[in-house]
């Protein structure tokens, strides 16, 4: 009986060794052949949203058009005429503290969500993107992202929230 059990254990350990070797060889083979693929997988996994954002950013970089830059007076006039949709590129916490009335919040990491925002469905509608201040990069990224997504009339309000709120213009919370 013991002999039979020993035989089974020996064959089990032999099999386990073979399985381990085969698994290691498969991983090595997979990594090696990956480099010959047309679209090789990166070393570290990226989720579909990150992949899309990355391709979107590279598409945005390739776009020769820059968003038009707008000064405060032009922005105020447009806002009064309700002639454009205002997009706040800041994080939701800052947006909740106060924003330009009738604007929608679209942080850079959620740019793909723009497809679900009803106000952005019409891609020919003028859009004015703003951020916290002049040096804020997020406004530029969101504006270029919207251009990459097919919006034709995208402008960037350079002064941003800081200039708007300091001017005593209406704000919404």
């Amino acid at each position: 009986m013991w002999d039979g059990a020993l035989t089974s254990m020996t064959s089990l350990f032999r099999d386990m060794g073979l399985v381990f070797l085969a698994f290691a060889a498969s991983c090595v083979l997979g990594v090696l052949t990956n480099s010959f693929r047309r679209a090789p997988l990166p070393t570290v996994y990226e989720n579909p949203e990150t992949r899309m954002l990355r391709s979107l950013s590279s598409a945005a970089e390739m776009i020769p058009r820059e968003p038009a830059l707008l000064e405060f007076q032009a922005v105020l006039r447009t806002w009064k005429d309700s002639a454009a949709l205002f997009v706040d590129a800041r994080e939701p916490a800052f947006f909740d503290e106060g924003h330009i009335p009738r604007s929608v919040n679209l942080p850079r990491d959620e740019i793909l969500r723009s497809k679900t925002i009803g106000e952005l469905a019409d891609k020919s509608r003028p859009v004015i993107v703003y951020c916290s201040e002049e040096g804020c990069e997020d406004g530029k990224i969101v504006a270029k992202g919207l251009l990459a997504l097919g919006h034709s009339k995208v402008s960037l309000y350079t002064g941003g929230w800081e200039e708007w709120s300091a001017s005593g213009s209406p704000v919404e919370k």
Binding site: D3, G4, T7, S8, S11, L12, R14, D15, M16, L18, V19, A22, F23, A25, S26, C27, V28, L29, G30, V31, T33, N34, R37, A39, L41, P42, T43, V44, Y45, E46, N47, P48
Partner: protein, 160 residues
Amino acid sequence: MVGLGLAGRKMIPRIFVSSVFLVAGLLKLWDPLAFADGIAAFHVFPAWSINVLAMGIPYFEILTGIGILSGRTRSAAALAACGLSVCFVLLYASALARGIDVKCACFGKWEILQASTRVGFVRAIALLGLSAWVYTKALLPYQRNRGAECSGERTRPRVP
């Protein structure tokens, strides 16, 4: 089962398990990105390991499928099939326990074969049962041979 002898009938589970792993491996090899997304959907593996698994597991499954059909490596391949099936069962069980709806892309992007978490769990258990059956049948010739050696007979392992 007219026309099939005992050996032929014993081959059916082997051929079935082997085909499942071969087809699954080849389809994953065709689209490793979909498989990587499938692995990530379980929210179990760290990001650095997902793509390595997505690149390696298809080859491992193909080797397992071929090994089950061959004579010498059958028990090791069947053990690999059991190991993979246990992993699938555990992953699906954890997904069910956490209420995650998983599309594992176990058969690539083929929507028709992408099962819900519950169906995937049942499928993994069925595969584990069949793989275990193939493994026990693969071990039998060695045990018979050992028994014969102990009683003074010298025989070679019978590999159907």
